[in-house]
């Protein structure tokens, strides 16, 4: 394996370590805001790096991310408060 191709893989395993560290942190530190932040960072690592969305054309990246963010936002911000009624 040449140095360049070995370097190809290293990034994925550094990301793996980051994902594990974040997982451990959110499991032991039971702060909801930190959990939300942790999930977002993990998702960003998986989507942008593992799924290579970070390396795709901006149009594709935005289409995927905005579709998911917008819907999730609407679901959570508009529907969730209704659960607290009554």
């Amino acid at each position: 394996m040449t140095a360049t191709s070995a370097a190809n893989y290293r990034g994925y395993w550094i990301a793996w370590l980051a994902l594990l560290v974040i997982t451990v942190v959110v499991v032991f530190v039971e702060v909801p805001l930190l959990l939300a932040f942790g999930m977002t960072v993990k998702a960003a690592i998986i989507v942008l790096l593992y799924m290579h969305l970070g390396g795709e054309r901006l149009g594709l990246t935005l289409s995927v991310l905005l579709a998911l963010f917008a819907t999730a936002l609407i679901l959570w911000l508009l529907i969730l408060p209704d659960g607290r009624m009554g």
């Binding site: 994925y12 997982t23 451990v24 959110v26 999930m39 795709e56 659960g83 607290r84 009624m85």
Partner: protein, 199 residues
């Protein structure tokens, strides 16, 4: 997964420079992601509306679930390595890491099945459970059931892709598409783990 390595369009430049296969996989991922977003939002609503909700640590073996999470994350890393190896033309590494990914997925699924049996043994079914709201077990089985089914489908796809690749009938593009699906399965688990088990 198609033999063609590049998109051959009759009608000009392909949108965002990707093959139609990759485009369709992203479309599928977005819609399937919305499915799980819907499930989780519904669960969050039900939980907010319930007078009480069991404490996860009392019901689940949190060490087991955390280990499951580690394993699935690792399988994503092995998958990403397999895709990169395929791009590099390193056949042996590709197959080795595809196999590792499948093993990781199978271990995850086995642990999930074990967790289900523990839960069922406590008296939980789709419509009732020993803890306060009946919705609790319904949401648990539905969400983890849908996710587990996606894992199972992913394992079948990975096995098929690995088999075809070993016989030189699958390209690096095909491996990458399978990888996109597998990472999506891991991504969903990030949110299921966080929203259902941790919060």
């Amino acid at each position: 997964m198609a033999q063609q390595a590049t998109a051959s369009w009759g009608g000009g430049a392909s949108p965002w420079g990707i093959s139609w296969q990759k485009m369709m996989m992203w479309w599928f991922i977005v819609t399937d992601g919305l499915l799980f977003a819907g499930f989780l939002a519904s669960y969050a609503f039900a939980r907010q509306a319930s007078p009480a909700w069991p404490k996860q640590a009392d019901v689940f073996n949190m060490k087991l679930i955390t280990l499951m999470t580690f394993i699935l994350i690792t399988s994503s890393a092995t998958m990403a390595t397999a895709v990169a190896a395929a791009r590099n033309g390193d056949r042996r590494l590709t197959l080795r890491f595809l196999l590792l990914t499948v093993v990781g997925g199978m271990v995850f699924l086995g642990m999930q099945a074990y967790e289900w049996t523990l839960f069922i043994r406590h008296g939980a079914t789709l419509t009732q459970n020993p803890w306060v709201p009946r919705a609790f077990s319904a949401y648990f089985f539905t969400i983890t059931g849908f996710h587990g089914t996606h894992v199972l489908i992913g394992l079948i796809v990975l096995a098929a892709v690995a088999w075809q690749y070993s016989r030189d009938r699958c390209t690096a593009d095909g491996i990458e598409l399978a990888g996109l699906y597998w990472h999506f399965v891991d991504l969903v688990w990030v949110f299921v783990f966080g929203c259902f088990y941790l919060v």
